[in-house]
C-alpha cells in the first residue's frame, strides 16, 4: 500500500522533472545559424533518473525521520572506535607514514604534483575548519586570504627578491592581518550576514587584483615565481617537486598538531561554545569579539601559507585562481568531511580533489557534483562523513556526600 504510494509519488516527481528540465535540457538553440537542436534522449534520461532518485530521496527522508524519533545515541561510529584504540591506529599511522615517505619515489611526477594540490587543499580545509567547523562562522571569502598569501610571495619576490622560506611566515602573517582587518568590523554581524560580507570582501580583493595593474599586473598575472630552494643546492625540476611535497607534508602535520592542541584549549572550547549559542556564551563571560577575531585571524593565516605554497607550486598566479567558487570548493571539503573533525576534513579534501583528477571524463561534472554534495550533506548528514564527536568530560573523583 505505502510502497505503491511511493511509486506513484516518484512517478509524479519524474513527470515534474521532465517538465522542469524541458527547455534547458532538450532544446538547444543556435542563435547565429538559426537552428534548433532537439535532444529528446535527454528527457528520457531525466525521467528515469528522476524516478529512481526520487525513490531514494523518499527512502532517505523516511529513514532520517525515524532516526530523529529514536533517542539520539552518543555511540561513536566505526571511525571513532578505530581512532580511539591504539591497537588499530598505531599500525595504521606507521603504514601511512611509510607510504607518504616513499610516495614521490614510487609514483610519477604527475601523481606527486596532483598530491601536492590535494595537500594544499587539505591545509586550506583545515584552516577553514577553524573558522567554520569550530567557531561556526561561515566565511565565503576565504580564498581572499589565500590570494593575499600567493600575491605577497609573488610580489615580494618580484620586487625585493625575497625567498620562499621568508615569504612563508610573512604571507601567513599578512593574511592574518587581513583576517583581523576584515574580522574587526564584521564581528557584530550574525551568521548569514557574515557570510555575505566575507563573500563581498573576497570579491573586492579579486577585483582589485584584476584592475590595479600597476600593483598586481592585472589579469595577466605574475609568472616565473621561483620554487623553494634547499640550502642553495641546484635541484632539478623533479627534485624540486619532491622537495615541495615533503615541505607540504610537514606543514600539514604542523597544522594538525596546532589544531589538535587548539581544540582542547581554552580558546578552542570558547569557539565551540560560541558556535552553539552566542548569547549564552557571552553570559558565561567569554569575550565574543576577541574569540571570533582569533578564529578569523588563525584561519586566514593558514590560508596565507597555503597561498605562498600555491604560488611556489604553480610558479604563475593570476586573479582567475581566486574566485568565489574556490572558497566554495574549500567549504565543500570541510562540509563533506565533517565540520570540526580533523580526520574528516583531511579525507574530505583528498576525496574531493583527487577523485575528479583521476576520473578524467568526470572532470566537467566536478562543480555540479559539488553543488549536489553540499545540498545532500546538509539534508541527510549535516555532520559530514566523519562526524566530530563532542568530548564528554566525566567526573572521576570521589563524590562527597
Amino acid at each position: 500500500m505505502t510502497a505503491n504510494n511511493e511509486i506513484k509519488r516518484s512517478l509524479a516527481a519524474s513527470v515534474w522533472f521532465m517538465f522542469l528540465t524541458f527547455p534547458i535540457m532538450v532544446i538547444k538553440v543556435n542563435t547565429v545559424t538559426h537552428t534548433v537542436e532537439w535532444r529528446w534522449a535527454n528527457m528520457l534520461w531525466v525521467g528515469i533518473g528522476a524516478f529512481f532518485l526520487s525513490m531514494l530521496w523518499r527512502y532517505l527522508l523516511i529513514k532520517k525521520e525515524m532516526g530523529n524519533n529514536k533517542e539520539t545515541s552518543d555511540k561513536p561510529g566505526l571511525v571513532q572506535t578505530i581512532t580511539a584504540n591504539p591497537r588499530f591506529y598505531i599500525p595504521a599511522l606507521v603504514a601511512l607514514g611509510v607510504f607518504i615517505l616513499v610516495f614521490p619515489h614510487l609514483f610519477s611526477m604527475y601523481q606527486t604534483s596532483i598530491m601536492i594540490s590535494a595537500l594544499i587543499y587539505v591545509m586550506l580545509g583545515l584552516g577553514l575548519n577553524i573558522v567554520v567547523g569550530l567557531a561556526g562562522l561561515l566565511d565565503l571569502g576565504y580564498v581572499a586570504f589565500f590570494a593575499v598569501g600567493a600575491y605577497s610571495y609573488a610580489l615580494l619576490n618580484l620586487t625585493y627578491g625575497i625567498t620562499f622560506w621568508v615569504a612563508l611566515p610573512l604571507g601567513g602573517l599578512l593574511a592574518g592581518c587581513f583576517g583581523i582587518l576584515l574580522g574587526y568590523p564584521v564581528l557584530r554581524l550574525r551568521g548569514d550576514y557574515l557570510a555575505i560580507v566575507t563573500l563581498g570582501f573576497g570579491e573586492i580583493i579579486r577585483l582589485v587584483l584584476e584592475n590595479w595593474n600597476e600593483f598586481s599586473h592585472g589579469p595577466s598575472g605574475i609568472a616565473n615565481i621561483p620554487k623553494p630552494s634547499l640550502f642553495g643546492l641546484d635541484l632539478t625540476l623533479d627534485q624540486k617537486t619532491i622537495y615541495l611535497f615533503y615541505i607540504l607534508v610537514l606543514l600539514v602535520l604542523f597544522t594538525i598538531f596546532v589544531i589538535n592542541r587548539l581544540q582542547d584549549s581554552r580558546i578552542g572550547r570558547a569557539w565551540v561554545a560560541l558556535k552553539d549559542d552566542e548569547i549564552a556564551c557571552q553570559a558565561m563571560g567569554i569575550d565574543k569579539a576577541k574569540t571570533k577575531l582569533r578564529a578569523f585571524a588563525l584561519g586566514a593565516t593558514w590560508a596565507g601559507m597555503g597561498g605562498v605554497i600555491f604560488a611556489a607550486k604553480t610558479t604563475f598566479i593570476n586573479p582567475a585562481s581566486f574566485t568565489i567558487w574556490e572558497s566554495v570548493i574549500i567549504l565543500c571539503t570541510v562540509v563533506l568531511g565533517g565540520m570540526g573533525s580533523i580526520l574528516g576534513v583531511i579525507s574530505g579534501a583528498l576525496l574531493l580533489i583527487l577523485l575528479p583528477e583521476y576520473l578524467r571524463d568526470f572532470g566537467q561534472f566536478r562543480m555540479i557534483t559539488f553543488g549536489i554534495v553540499l545540498v545532500l550533506m546538509m539534508v541527510f548528514r549535516p555532520g559530514g562523513m566523519i562526524e566530530n564527536v563532542r568530548k564528554t568530560y566525566t567526573f572521576k573523583g570521589k563524590m562527597e556526600n
Binding site: P23, I24, V29, V36, R188, Y193, I196, W325, V335, V379
Partner: protein, 302 residues
Amino acid sequence: MDFDYFMQLFLGGLTRGSIYALIALGYTMVYGIIQLINFAHGEIYMIGAFTGLIVSSVLTMAGMPTLGVVIMAAMAAVIYSSAYGYTMEKIAYKPLRNAPRLSALISAIGMSLFLQNYVLLAQTSDFLPFPSLIPDFDFWEPYAHLISSPELVILATTFVVMMLLTVLIKFTRIGKAMRATSQDKIMAALLGINVDRIISVTFVVGSATAAIGGLLIASHIGQINFYMGFIAGIKAFVAAVLGGIGSIPGAVLGSFVLGWTESFFTGYISSDYEDVFAFIILVVILIFRPSGILGKSETQKV
C-alpha cells in the same frame, strides 16, 4: 557638468535600479518569511533569461509574429522560473526548516552551484546573443537621447509589477497570510494558515518577478550566459540589505539608491571598479546600519 548628461545618468540609474528591484523583491520576501538568504535566487533569474531566449528563438524560427513571441517568451520564463523556485524550496530548504541556519545557507550555496553548472552543461558556457524583445518607438524619438524606449518599457513594467505585488500583499487573502507567517510562523499555523503553502507561494512569486527582471535585462544588454545570475544576485542582495531586508518598499528604495549611486559613480568617476563599489556599499552598510534604510532593528533573544 551639463544637465543632459546628469539626466541621462539619473534615468540610467533608475532603469538599473528597477531591474535590481525586480530581483531584490524575491530576496526580501523569502528573507521576510523564513529568514533565509536564498543564495540561489540569482540563478532563478538566470534560468528565466535562458528559458526566454530558448522559447523566443524557437517561436521566431517557427514564424510567429513578434508580439506573440514576446508574450509567449515572458509567460514561459515566468512559469519555468516559478517552477524552479518551487522545486528548489522543496528540495533544498524544506527539509532544513528546523536545522541551524548555517546548514540552510550552505544548502543554498550548493543549489546555486548546481543550477549554474546544470545550465552550463546542458547549454553552453559562451555568451549567447539575446534578441531585443522591445522595439524602439517612433513617438519617443525626441527624448531618446535621455532614455531609450526599451528602458522606458523596463521602467513601466517594473512599476506595474510593483503595483500588482503591493495589491497581492496588502489586499488579498494570501497576502494577509503571508504577512502573518512572516510575523510568527507558529502562531500563523495555529490560526489555521498552511505555512508550508505560504512559503511555497512566496518562492513562486519571488521567482516570477526575478524571471521578468531576467528577461528585461537580457533583452536590454543583448547577451546572456550561465554566470549572469551570480553578480546580479549579489547586487540585488546588496539593494535588499540597503533598503532593509525583509521590507518590500525597502527593497525597491534600496535598489533605486544602488542604481543611482552606481550610475553616477561610473558616469563621473570610473567604470573599472563598478562591481567593487557595490561590494563596498554592502560592507559599509552592514557595519554601520545592518538593518538598512527602512528595516527595523531586531534584538536577538536566547
